[in-house]
């Protein structure tokens, strides 16, 4: 059942659970963050689609338009960051941190500059724009830079909280955001603790068959899968691993010990993303059979969000299949 301790959205399993885009949650968070006077917001010709314009309206003097120049934006932010400011840089994830990766690596991360990087329109759910605009590598890109912290919110509400929280976490933080409206899984009461995962769902009973660990809006599919698995007498826990770095290793190992099998879920290439992060921990501390639900090292294409989730095997039935596969491999 849903983990009521974290105050989940009670309507999750309704036909209409309520939807909001992560970027909208981010925009609200940014506006709230503006109360901290050192927060400055930069964009590269994308103020509306990255939802910075809400901040701009209230704090025009702290809004910086860079034009279509992501590399320049990142390095300017580094300069601001080492001068006492808390810059948020905004573009699509394919361009920031895609195009400006090295500027982020050296001028932001190596300097430990206090810069927050909002990677918008991440994942294939970006939709009809096609593969050029669908970032499926950004978690890997950011996770592999020392000093960088990585947060992948599951819904608009969590995006808002993560945005606000990042103001008070020193140093570079990457926030992975998405374009389309997706179901709300959490509520304003749900606690968000940077670096600390939590279960969204725990099947009743003392035993567990599988731990489904994921991040981002696809956790909605994970929840639907968990519910269906319970009908089939397969007991699961669904973990919201919103912080990919620093990783909540203890929780990952504890759940692996309880379930003895793990399925990871992410809207990212299975190479280097959430599943990889989990596997790196378990391989060293408590190896169990694992299956990876994610994009299998292929580029996406134009389409609608739900068509693409299906096409690229990120659907509820794919999570169920992965679970059955991992259960067969259990010792």
């Amino acid at each position: 059942m849903l983990n009521l301790e974290i105050y989940p959205n009670h309507k999750i399993f309704d036909k209409d659970p309520g939807q909001e885009a992560l970027r909208d949650g981010y925009g609200k968070g940014l506006l709230e963050a503006g109360k901290e006077r050192n927060v400055v917001v930069l964009t590269a010709d994308l103020e509306e689609s990255t939802r910075c314009q809400w901040f701009k309206k209230v704090y025009p003097e702290r809004f910086i338009e860079c034009g279509v120049a992501e590399q320049n934006m990142a390095a300017i932010a580094a300069g601001l960051g080492i001068s006492g400011k808390i810059p948020f840089i905004n573009s699509y994830a394919t361009f920031s941190p895609g195009r400006n990766w090295e500027q982020i690596r050296t001028t932001i991360a190596y300097n430990d500059a206090n810069v927050k990087i909002a990677g918008h329109h991440a994942g294939i759910s970006t939709g009809p724009d096609g593969a050029t605009h669908q970032a499926i590598e950004d978690i890997a890109l950011m996770r592999s830079i020392p000093n960088m912290k990585v947060v992948v919110p599951c819904d608009a509400e969590e995006a808002r909280k993560a945005t606000l929280a990042s103001v008070f976490i020193w140093g570079p933080v990457y926030l992975r955001l998405a374009r389309e409206k997706t179901p709300l899984l959490t509520t304003p009461e749900t606690p968000f603790v940077f670096g600390k995962s939590y279960p969204l769902w725990i099947s009743k009973g003392k035993t567990l068959d599988v731990a489904i660990i994921g991040a981002g809006p696809l956790l909605y599919n994970a929840l639907l899968a968990a519910k269906e698995l319970e009908n089939q007498k397969i007991k699961s826990v669904v973990i919201n691993l919103h912080t990919i770095k620093p990783l909540d290793k203890k929780a990952i190992v504890d759940w692996a010990k309880k379930a003895k099998a793990v399925v990871t879920v992410e809207e990212h290439n299975v190479l280097g993303g959430v599943g990889s992060a989990v596997a790196e921990v378990l391989a060293q501390e408590y190896p169990v059979p694992m299956e990876f639900v994610g994009i299998k090292d292929v580029f996406g294409q134009s389409g609608k969000i739900y068509e693409l989730w299906k096409k690229y095997h990120l659907d509820v039935k794919d999570i169920i299949l992965a679970t059955k596969k991992v259960l067969k491999r259990k010792l």
Binding site: D45, E48, V68, N72, P128, G130, A131, S302
Partner: protein, 285 residues
């Protein structure tokens, strides 16, 4: 190459037909970019129906002239042009941006033949065109390489790295065409991040620069012919265009950069385009 009066009329007609295609495609797709594609209809008609040495039925013909679209988001006009030129069936235009389509939201080389390279991420088309032109030089091939760029993308540092390279290497087999429509997403280019004096900047980097009215096919064609005749320098044609050209409520409005018309708006747009009867007035008419 002689551009007869009759041929010129035909090209204007084609340009307007392409505009109708763009409106129909975008409306069907439900997302995509309107202003840029409409503004570039004359340039695309002139390129594919007069200038380019190409074989639509043999898209990989090695001697073909290359046209690289750097600002990939205006691909509806590229797709419409390729279809009308015979690269693929017209009815496929309706699949734009849909699952399984060869007409990806931004052009993909491996999805559709006729698309010379993948684009969408701005600022890297000129560099790729330089690579193509360099390959021609190394091979002693005679084809000419064209690259279409937007004005907004000139804010990317990559563009200027490429401009510098082409100037140094005197790539006279390369011609750049800029859609100077003065808009980008967040507003007018000169408000967001000024590009002027664009002409002087290119000149300073060793380019031959020609300014034209991008809706005047005669003037545009003359510029391309001049570009091909100029030795020792790459040429850039700054095509001054009106974003959204042909549809009154879209013209000159940056708000139409990245949205499609609604069904109602499309009806009105098509009505206006058809009323023009295939003739968009240029300043020289």
């Amino acid at each position: 190459m002689l551009l007869s009066y009759h041929r010129l009329k035909e090209l204007y007609k084609t340009a307007n037909r392409l505009r109708e295609d763009v409106i129909e495609m975008l409306t069907e797709a439900g997302s995509g970019h309107s202003a840029g594609p409409l503004g570039m209809a004359e340039v695309f008609a002139a390129m594919y129906f007069f200038i380019l040495n190409h074989r639509p039925k043999e898209p990989s013909w090695p001697q073909r002239d290359r046209l690289i679209l750097s600002n990939g988001h205006i691909c509806p006009i590229l797709y419409a042009t390729l279809a009308r030129a015979g690269y693929f069936p017209l009815k496929e235009l309706k699949t734009l941006r849909k699952l399984g389509s060869r007409l990806q939201g931004h052009p993909h080389r491996k999805s559709l033949s006729g698309v010379e390279t993948t684009s969408g991420p701005l600022g890297s088309g000129l560099s790729q065109a330089i690579g193509v032109a360099l390959a021609a030089r190394l091979d002693g091939a005679r084809y000419h390489t064209y690259v279409i760029m937007s004005d907004g993308e000139h804010q990317e540092g990559n563009v200027w790295e490429a401009v510098m390279f082409a100037g140094k290497n005197r790539l006279s087999n390369l011609t750049a065409i800029i859609d100077r429509n003065n808009i980008q997403i967040d507003g007018y280019t000169e408000d967001v991040m000024p590009l002027e004096p664009l002409r002087d900047k290119y000149q300073a980097f060793g380019w031959n620069v020609i300014d034209v009215n991008g809706h005047d096919i005669e003037e545009f064609v003359a510029a391309v012919l001049e570009a091909k005749a100029v030795y020792e320098k790459p040429t850039v044609i700054i095509a001054h265009t009106i974003p959204g050209k042909g549809v009154s409520f879209m013209e000159q409005k940056y708000q139409w950069h990245g949205i499609p018309p609604t069904k109602e708006q499309a009806k009105e747009a098509l009505r206006q385009l058809r009323r023009l009867g295939g003739k968009i007035k240029s300043e020289h008419d």
